[in-house]
């Protein structure tokens, strides 16, 4: 058998990874919960224990509710586009394009995913610009000038403009996941269905959907937790404004912590984000498992 020294070496190899995970992921998670029961500022080491004060403040804070509503909107629209529409588009790519073109399309649709969100968001400020923006220009050019609008500057449209940028960037990602999982479906299933006279829609519903349900579940979880942790898009496009109209939990947490310097309250907001993503992931996993039986 292996010598004691050999065994020790195996444990030693595990150590760097455990240190990284422990210090930078597990410790902060636990510390964050502790911080959320105290009041402190960036510069000082002093933390005052305030019990549940931060959570009371959180429940009474109207901006938290605005942000939460925006996150829910984000999740609903993202699920519609990045799960349902992306799934249909993925199936469409495989059905209507010859295989070489399908490979090229898959790569092309993935391109926006590769761009830094900063690049995408700054680019879309040109498109949504109030006076000279491309979108307004396009609307005027096709005779719909009355629809022209300060998309990012209006409290009713700001959050939807921000959400649409996320969809533009992310559909390609979930589409790729769906395409790859659809390619793993045994072709015999379709052949048998075709022999039974099943038409395209019927095949999609009774073969493609059930055969990719695991991937649909994964994408659903990714999309929903992404929607509740989103930061860069609203931060760059609107800064959460106008007013707090397009504030989401993560941008609000950033503002509370790093501008208003209320770190304890920011930690409470972070805990809220964590609990929401955890609950939603567990709920989706449970639903997925019961649906299987």
């Amino acid at each position: 058998m292996r010598s004691a020294g050999e065994r020790a070496l195996d444990y030693l190899f595990l150590l760097p990874a455990l240190i990284f995970l422990g210090v930078f992921i597990l410790y902060p998670l636990a510390a964050n919960v502790g911080f959320s029961f105290s009041e402190f500022t960036l510069g000082s080491a002093e933390k005052t224990f305030v019990g549940l004060d931060n959570y009371r403040q959180l429940i009474a804070d109207p901006i938290v509710w605005t942000a939460l509503t925006n996150n829910v909107l984000y999740a609903l629209v993202s699920v519609l586009f990045q799960v349902f529409i992306a799934h249909i588009l993925a199936a469409t790519v495989l059905v209507v394009l010859p295989s070489r073109l399908a490979v090229a399309a898959r790569s092309f649709f993935f391109l926006p995913v590769l761009l830094s969100m900063t690049v995408v968001a700054i680019l879309f400020t040109f498109i949504f610009d109030a006076s000279d923006g491309l979108l307004n220009g396009l609307l005027q050019a096709v005779g719909l000038g009355q629809l022209a609008h300060p998309w990012l500057g209006d409290t009713t449209t700001a959050i939807f403009a921000v959400i649409s940028v996320s969809q533009w960037q992310s559909i390609g990602y979930t589409m790729l996941l769906f395409i790859v999982s659809m390619q793993n479906i045994p072709t015999e299933l379709y052949e048998a269905a075709a022999l039974d006279g099943a038409k395209l829609l019927r095949q999609y519903v009774s073969i493609t959907l059930p055969q990719t349900r695991e991937m649909i579940f994964v994408v659903m979880v990714l999309t929903v937790s992404g929607a509740f942790t989103v930061f860069a898009e609203p931060y760059i496009l609107t800064g959460g404004g106008p007013g707090n109209a397009s504030q989401v939990l993560a941008t609000y947490m950033y503002r509370v912590g790093f501008f208003q310097n209320e770190m304890g309250y920011a930690s409470a907001l972070a805990t809220l984000i964590f609990v929401i993503t955890l609950v939603l992931s567990v709920a989706q996993a449970t639903l997925f498992r019961t649906g299987k039986e």
């Binding site: 050999e6 070496l9 195996d10 190899f13 595990l14 760097p16 990874a17 990284f20 995970l21 210090v23 930078f24 992921i25 410790y27 902060p28 998670l29 510390a31 911080f35 588009l89 469409t92 495989l94 059905v95 209507v96 399908a102 790569s107 649709f109 391109l111 926006p112 590769l114 761009l115 830094s116 690049v119 700054i122 879309f124 040109f126 220009g137 533009w168 990602y173 790729l176 790859v180 659809m182 072709t187 379709y190 052949e191 269905a193 395209l200 991937m215 990714l222 942790t229 930061f231 760059i236 947490m253 950033y254 912590g257 790093f258 770190m263 930690s267 972070a270 984000i273 964590f274 993503t277």
Partner: protein, 277 residues
């Protein structure tokens, strides 16, 4: 790749939908590239036409105005992060397949848990921690958390490949008198080229684009990576649109090139990673 259920299907409507979608994706990107060669007035003044004169110096201006520094910073941070992730994850994955005991199971539990924790949640304690170590506003402030948050994905991917290595090969290596490290280098390292490339590309993609930590943990313009740097760049340029768009294009190109070169590994990694996630 084409599925057999196309017989008798009308292809045109589907193709039109995909073409429309492709145009929605392509248009902003093409506009960005074409406009990046324009003088400022033409960016909004004649948004739908080609530049009257091609301003190639927009690119040299953007480069000199700081994008070169951001670019170098991004390269440096990405390179160190990727190397560290691969080294730490490969060693851990190796231990995990060799140990197969309570320690391995506990580690797997931690890895799976860490996989679903999003960085947003840890921002305040991490800031506090890095501050206490005196690491704020350094490259290290970005690199350490980046490595940590990429490790779970990399460990899972590499472990899956290592599990496929036949035990006999390892036994043989030990009978030849090879120690733990030699066995790792002789038996496991050679089979891991593909998965290491996948893990590397996923790490590069994440690190190159990471925004939140880069924005909060680093203050000096001279240390900023591209995603956070572009924000400062935008504010500094105010209305010099052509140069701003040139900067955006410079920031976008490297990742696209790496993708085209390493597409196969990236796709393998994304799908494997998400299924395990």
């Amino acid at each position: 790749m084409r599925l057999p259920y196309v017989a008798g299907v009308r292809l045109l409507p589907g193709r039109l939908v995909l073409t429309a979608y492709a145009l929605i994706l392509a248009f902003p990107l093409l506009w960005m590239i074409v406009s990046s060669f324009k003088p400022t007035l033409e960016v909004y003044g004649r948004p739908w036409s080609l530049p009257s004169t091609w301003r190639f110096d927009n690119y040299s201006k953007a480069w000199e105005m700081g994008v070169s520094q951001y670019f170098v910073n991004s390269l440096f941070v990405t390179a160190i992060t990727t190397a560290a992730v691969l080294a730490v994850a490969a060693l851990a994955a190796y231990s995990l397949v060799r140990l197969r005991n309570w320690a391995a199971r506990l580690t797997m539990l931690i890895v799976m848990g860490a996989l679903v924790i999003s960085p947003q949640v840890s921002i305040v304690p991490l800031y506090d921690l890095l501050g206490r170590f005196g690491l704020l506003d350094t490259y290290t402030a970005m690199i350490l958390p980046y490595v940590a948050y990429r490790l779970p994905m990399a460990i899972l991917l590499i472990r899956a490949v290592f599990l496929e290595v036949p035990r006999e090969l390892e036994e043989a290596s030990r009978l030849d008198g090879c120690g733990s490290l030699r066995t790792f280098l002789n038996v496991y390292w050679p089979v891991s080229a593909g998965v290491l490339a996948t893990a590397a590309i996923l790490t590069i993609y994440y690190t190159w684009n990471e925004f939140l930590f880069a924005l909060i943990f680093v203050d000096s313009d001279s240390l900023r990576t591209i995603p956070a740097g572009l924000m400062a760049f935008r504010d500094a340029l105010a209305t010099d649109w052509g140069v701003l768009l040139a900067g955006l294009t410079i920031a976008a190109v490297p990742v696209v090139v790496v993708f085209l070169l390493g597409q196969r590994f990236l796709i393998a990694g994304i799908t494997a990673g998400s299924v395990k996630g």
